[in-house]
Symmetry: D3
Subunit: 72 residues, 6 copies
């Protein structure tokens, strides 16, 4: 019975990426834990940039300063 | 001090149904646990169909295939 | 696809009461929303009294002062 | 590694107030726990008034009756 | 800035499996969303079998009846 | 109606620190949002070091390597 919640800032998370996240996380977790996928739910929650704070600053402010969360 | 979060796909959950959920869950839980309703909060969070995954598929895709979550 | 989380202070929530909560909440929500119970998960999370704060005070401190959350 | 989620009814929580919440909560928690702010994330989630229940009633109904959550 | 919460029943989730979950989910999500892993936190929460309800029944009761969540 | 959840690794978070967190967060949020403290709940959830992943690694492993989350 896994339930997975993915919270991520709302920045170009397309329908296709969401489907990849759901398929990938479900496969991974059901394989590692040997769980029936029909008992596995994944919920994605996009968070507005004004609503996520990192190191005391709104992500919207960080982005305005040119600071991204991109992989290096 | 109960706090209850109800996550459900956004599919015709009317204001009236939400009120029924809030009243019903509050009554049920405060009765079983003998809690003061003024210490009991219920939060409903509707999730877009692209954002809920079941068995590795987006619910929006399942609905397009005619697969519902209706009670049988 | 409902998922319900019930957070409550750890105060004599017996196995029987948990079963009543799970059965009651599942019946209520699947009836109001016309959902298949096999797509409905309920998770109960008990919280230690030191870990729940109400009006700025730990519940453990409130209980020491004789302040309960009992229904009146 | 703290992660903090703030759920609040959607009632005039301006961008400035959100920034104050994020800065204030981050400072407070990293000071008390001596944590690196770069490992500290704060997420604010505004909840519609129809979706928050208190004492068995929707907050939207309470507000229509003139009952507020204002500090006295 | 992803934050991921994995809730799963407490059934032989070893330290090694947890590490696999954390590594796998982090890799997957940071790849799909092109995110810096240093901004990615994963939290696993194991739930006691008395505390997880499925289709209105405690998982502990389902297990006593020989009903598992194993992949077929 | 704010509800605040603080998730933090289980590392010497004493009863006194918890009380400071609860008092501090409640004061801060009720002041910024002008909310009645009696409608404000704070829940602290300590997470075992094996259960929190950062940058793809268990915090327990990071700590064994001497990597802390301490403020610099």
């Amino acid at each position: 019975m896994p339930y997975i919640k993915i919270e991520v800032t709302r920045e170009e998370v397309t329908r296709e990426k969401k489907q990849q996240l759901i398929k990938g996380v479900t496969d991974l977790i059901t394989n590692i834990l040997n769980k029936d996928p029909h008992l596995t739910h994944v919920v994605i929650q996009e968070i507005e940039l004004d609503d996520w704070g990192y190191a005391g600053e709104q992500v919207s402010v960080l982005r305005e300063k040119g600071i991204t969360a991109d992989k290096k």
